[in-house]
């Protein structure tokens, strides 16, 4: 069940699923596209209309779907491992909301216009501040109530300040765009967004995945983990830094997409024998698959303008969350 071979098989399977959904995401769109012609034109470097649609519209959407999903899945698993609580999700504990605030300030007040990296950095700073605050509140093994209350507080404050910032922003459209930041969307993102966000996300994944062995040790609590030779400062730094970079950059280009980091680790955990170290990569891949799938769904659901991505993930995630809370209340965290 928890053997290495079983795990390799799981990772390959999830990888294949992500690749498949990535391909479907490229194929699905609002207008019929000759995919073969688009691909051959693109590979031959010909500037054709199908190649343009494929490279500039569908590719960034699919890449961001996979990358944002991976970020949310892997950081959800890492926060849960660090706090040893299965409800620690970047959305629920307020990290995504704070990242949105940082990105909104960077974007609407023109910082990102003069310095493009200000956008992901704004998200990173927001997410970093929230994560550090959370760890201060939940010093050693947070109980569920503390985590949720901290999340409520951070989300309320970040949401209010985001609305305030959008109201103060010079653009007349800004105030109407709060829903993008609160619910998230991948519609009409471009390769520019990919180039801005992906390096930060990859850095974040690297940091978080480097904590895998320590995550396993933390199953026994912080004291036992330290006695096994792991530095808690280093683990916290890896997870906080990785979460800030990956979630901050994700939210900066796609808004706050909720519940992926909650649902995915929960679904994947039994498949990795509940080992928090192995959970990281598997959750990342499953998060990518879920987000790609949800983004395909919003394009297939015939509502115009299309549903925000966070609406779909919330419809899936919120009942999950409630069911988990119910169970945690019965069993204790």
């Amino acid at each position: 069940m928890t053997g290495m071979r079983h795990h390799r098989l799981l990772i390959s399977g999830l990888g294949l699923l992500v690749a498949l959904l990535f391909a479907v995401s490229l194929l699905i769109g609002y207008a019929p596209l000759d995919f073969g012609a688009a691909l051959s034109d693109l590979l031959a470097g010909r500037e054709s209309l199908p190649a343009l649609v494929l490279a500039e519209l569908r590719l960034p959407r699919a890449v961001l779907g996979a990358a944002v999903g991976f970020s949310l899945g892997v950081t959800g698993a890492a926060l849960q491992g660090l706090m040893r609580n299965p409800i620690a999700d970047p959305g629920i504990v307020g990290v995504s909301g704070a990242a949105a605030l940082g990105a909104v300030v960077a974007f609407y007040f023109g910082f990102s216009a003069t310095f493009a990296l200000a956008l992901p950095l704004g998200g990173l700073i927001g997410a970093g501040v929230a994560t550090v605050f959370l760890l201060m509140v939940a010093r050693s093994g947070a109980d569920t109530a503390t985590l949720i209350l901290a999340g409520v507080a951070i989300n309320a404050l970040a949401g209010a300040l985001t609305a305030l910032a959008l109201n103060l922003a010079p653009s007349p459209y800004a105030a109407l765009e709060v829903v993008f930041w609160l619910m998230g969307s991948l519609a009409d993102r471009s390769l520019v967004h990919v180039a801005l966000a992906l390096p930060f996300m990859v850095l974040g994944w690297g940091l978080v995945l480097a904590s895998a062995r320590a995550m396993d040790a933390l199953t026994l609590g912080e004291d036992a983990a330290q006695s096994l030779g792991f530095s808690m400062q280093r683990v916290r730094l890896l997870v906080v830094g990785g979460t800030a970079a990956a979630v901050g950059a994700s939210v900066a280009v796609a808004g706050a997409i909720g519940f992926v980091g909650l649902v995915v680790p929960h679904l994947v955990r039994p498949l990795v024998g509940h080992r928090p170290g192995r959970l990281l990569l598997a959750s990342g891949l499953a998060g990518a698959a879920l987000t790609l799938g949800a983004d395909i769904a919003v394009r297939l659901i015939p509502t115009r303008p299309e549903l925000k991505l966070g609406v779909v993930t919330a419809i899936i995630g919120a009942p999950f969350f409630l069911a988990m809370l119910r169970r945690l209340k019965v069993e204790g965290p």
Binding site: G29, P172, Y173
Partner: protein, 291 residues
């Protein structure tokens, strides 16, 4: 206490309202389109207040005129002390304010959103008549019509165009821009793609529809917003590179007024630029593949 104040205000307000159809002397506008008509048709001394939007040259064609007039943000509290004898509001905006002002006894004129050039002309005449400036209204309509008539004749092959507004909104069937496009001999693709007059289009639909002209309603120095960012998406770059993009400030054709003539003139000039059969901005895309 509150009720007493309201009653007092109502009594104060009742006097001017009772004056009926006299030429209004203290006009308040709560809508940008009304601002433009009021400022152009009435003498400045008669305008008590217009919206703050009228002073922003990015969105308003009357920013210079508005500079001499007090501005409001569409709140009843701002309007009542001015004791206006005519309030002009939009039919779809500041609904609560409109209702409150009516309850207090003010005369409120509501402007609908015209759906064609003819309706725009009618709206100009309607507002002018209520302001007691029918002749000025008639003159404004005549000037717009004359400018339209002076445009070069539309070609037979009807090049296609799509209007792209912030947020991916377009001007679909049954809108003034649609009517202006038709007047200058452009085939509005959005009328086919989108069902209503404020439809949203995915960028992908616009690119694949391959319009001959992309009319971009944006201000070059607009403050950052997601809505505006869309207009600079790299997927639209080939259109700009091939000079198929016409930047057209939205203020020119958002409201009934002389801006419509200017919009038509710029669009006709852009249409003239693209000779019939000019190469598409994108090579190697046989039209057959796209349908």
């Amino acid at each position: 206490m509150m009720r007493a104040v309201l009653l007092l205000l109502a009594l104060l307000a009742a006097a001017p309202a009772a004056a009926g159809e006299a030429k209004p002397a203290r006009i308040v506008s709560l809508n940008l389109c009304a601002d433009e008509l009021v400022l152009r048709l009435a003498d400045p001394g008669r305008v008590a207040s217009v919206t703050y939007l009228a002073r922003d040259p990015r969105g308003s064609t009357v920013a210079d005129l508005a500079a001499q007039v007090p501005v409001n943000r569409g709140l009843a509290e701002e309007v009542v002390p001015l004791a206006p004898d005519l309030v002009i509001a939009g039919a779809f905006t500041t609904r609560a304010t409109t209702a409150m002002l009516r309850r207090l006894g003010f005369e409120v004129m509501e402007l609908g959103v015209p759906t064609s050039l003819e309706e725009a002309y009618a709206q100009i005449r309607q507002v002018a008549a209520r302001l007691g400036e029918a002749e000025r209204g008639e003159a404004m309509v005549a000037r717009i019509k004359a400018a339209m008539a002076a445009l070069p004749p539309a070609p037979a092959d009807h090049p296609t165009a799509v209007v792209l507004r912030p947020n991916g909104f377009t001007a679909g069937r049954g809108s003034v821009p649609d009517s202006v496009l038709a007047r200058v001999g452009l085939d509005n693709l959005a009328a086919r793609l989108s069902t209503d007059r404020m439809g949203q289009l995915a960028l992908e639909e616009i690119v694949i529809a391959k319009p001959d002209l992309l009319v971009v309603n944006s201000a070059p120095d607009a403050p950052p917003s997601l809505a505006d960012e869309l207009l600079h998406h790299p997927a639209l770059a080939p259109f700009a590179k091939a000079a198929r993009t016409v930047p057209l400030p939205i203020r020119l054709w958002a409201c009934a007024g002389p801006g419509l003539a200017e919009a038509a003139r710029r669009l006709a000039a852009a249409r003239e630029r693209i000779a019939p059969g000019a190469p598409s901005p994108l090579v190697g895309a046989p039209a057959g593949l796209l349908q």
